[in-house]
Amino acid sequence: MSVNTKDIVYHRPRLLTDNNMHYCPGCSHAAIHKILADVLSDMNLADNVIGIGSVGCSVFIYNYIDIDWIEAAHGRAPAVATAVSRLNPQKLVFTYQGDGDMASIGTTEIIHAANRGENITVIFINNSVYGMTGGQMAPTTPLGMKTVTCPDGRNVEQNGYPLPITDLLTRLPGTCFVSREAVTTYKHVLHAKKALRKAFQNTLEKRGTSVVEFVATCCSGWKMSPVEANEWLNTRMKQMKMGRLK
């Protein structure tokens, strides 16, 4: 049977390598890698992009997407991206950070990089726990959510309020595009692809910092099955403002 490329509705993105990803079954990281590879190959940017990886579950991202990568120290990806984008103004530079990396240890770097309006895209994966170390409470954990280190749920008296880092970044004049996306349903996946494309386009046109937050699941950290985790996140997303924030 001959292959007609017109008859293929969906195939594995060509920029993904053949390595099997180490993520748990149903992890949002893997889905976001797929979207990222899809958008980069759609925009023909594979030879013209430098990604900055971060510390967390996504630390081995350079094994999975076939582009140039730099692995930054914990939380310092925006600082590395600043240098790379200033030295290579013709390249698209983006960072890929989790919430433990960006909203916790790297808050300084992201706030100042966004405030300077560096020409980078920040992909922020917010799964509201420290996934790699076993699901401990993170600064982004919502009130009332149970984790390993707050088994009765997060409360204000003991743990304070969750840090809305994406909402903070919308207030800065240096950011040009801030969006909150998800990958829990195929509609969200298609919307997220559009947002990512828009963010990369802004960076190529040197308009300032673009931030795309992905509200993600962590099945192992949340102690849920992948389907349950997606359903839970879908109900939680109704209380959040999704889509373009700035």
Binding site: M1, N4, V9, H11, R12, S28, H29, A31, K34
Partner: protein
């Protein structure tokens, strides 16, 4: 008589299979070795065409399979939601060669 019954059943089921194959709009090919059995594709499929298999792959994961191929409408929802990008979707009757090489279940697809 028995022989006739068997013959009739065979012809009948072959005809049914042909009709089902004609109704089928899409073809899903799953790379079973890459699948981790998270079940998101099974949950998201609007036509209930996919199920989790009884078999495990070489890494010990129960993988998903297209048990009811004739229900597939080729919408690619499963491929979009699949975290590990192990699903290829094509229109009916056109199966990509690279996908066939990986798919151990291909021979049982229409059975």
């Amino acid at each position: 008589m028995n022989m006739h019954n068997t013959l009739f059943r065979d012809v009948h089921s072959a005809a049914l299979r042909t009709v089902h194959a004609m109704l089928q709009k899409g073809q899903v090919t799953i790379d079973a070795e890459r699948c981790k059995g998270c079940g998101l594709c099974v949950h998201t499929c609007p036509a209930q065409s996919l199920t989790l298999s009884q078999m495990v792959n070489s890494r010990g994961y129960v993988h998903s399979e297209q048990r009811f191929a004739n229900r597939c409408i080729g919408c690619a929802s499963c491929a979009l939601i699949c975290p590990d990008a192990c699903i290829t979707v094509s229109r009916r009757g056109h199966i990509p060669h690279h996908a066939m090489q990986h798919d151990s279940l291909w021979n049982n697809k229409l059975a």
